[in-house]
Subunit: 126 residues, 2 copies
DNA sequence: CCCACTAGTTTATAAAGTCAAGCGGTGTAA
DNA sequence: TTACACCGCTTGACTTTATAAACTAGTGGG
């Protein structure tokens, strides 16, 4: 019976009824690998496998899906270039909209450096 | 055979080999509902159901799990207060660490307002 | 007594993400 | 010539995660 209200409550900041850009933005950025992809592309345009490597750990199926989604949102752009002769290479770039996520990544970066020095989740000291 | 490299490439900004706070921070913040929870709590401390309502759409099972995780990360704190007589109410608050995520939310907010005015994902004009 | 509200837990199901393999193509080295 | 590495994906089986819905247990009001 609980938690089924889809309209954010009246207590939140700018949430009136109706469309909320922040809510939507969070919805986009919280998708797995999206922030990693954006961060990788802020470092420069990349090909598919190159991006997979830079992102670190995302598999090709998920990556394809995420890239398509980000492309429809006009956050990234895809270009197919004929580098040498015939081999077509797909190159992914941030659009101006995507590039403005730099501030978000920076904020996360700053926060992470300040408060996440230790590595609780077991695995590697990595 | 692809996409199984866990070590982020050398091309990214501050990624040396070893622990990367940004990578980890993204890992934390990209979990579903986390940014929504933080945003709701930036608006003030809240009880469980109150938080569920503010977050909008998260079910209690997931919320419980997320709150536990965020608590172990010291991003939020849980307090059980005896409001009136015996009824125990759980109150969730941001820790100082959590409060510093304000800048991240602000950056997302700014970006969202600037670029996400339209609502592509069908559903409601909401 | 019945209903609403508190904070959750349980269970079964749906959705999302991952793994491993493979395709068509090129280019490089044996 | 064969073989294997790289490119950019796609496919299908499998695992992990999130969801809805119901339910526990306690308080309080009508």
């Amino acid at each position: 019976m609980n938690t089924e209200l889809s309209a954010p409550g009246p207590s939140a900041q700018g949430v009136e009824k109706g469309f909320c850009p922040v809510y939507r933005a969070i919805g986009v950025l919280q998708e797995k690998w999206v922030l990693h992809i954006v961060r990788a592309l802020l470092d420069g345009e990349k090909g598919f496998n190159e991006l997979a490597r830079a992102v670190g750990g995302c598999n090709s199926a998920t990556l394809t899906q995420r890239l398509e989604h980000l492309e429809t949102l006009k956050i990234i752009g895809k270009r197919t270039e004929d580098t040498h002769g015939k081999l077509a290479r797909s190159v992914y770039t941030l659009t101006p909209v995507g590039r403005e996520l730099q501030s978000v990544i920076d904020a996360i970066d700053t926060w992470g450096r300040a408060h996440l020095q230790e590595g609780p989740p077991g695995v590697a000291g990595c």
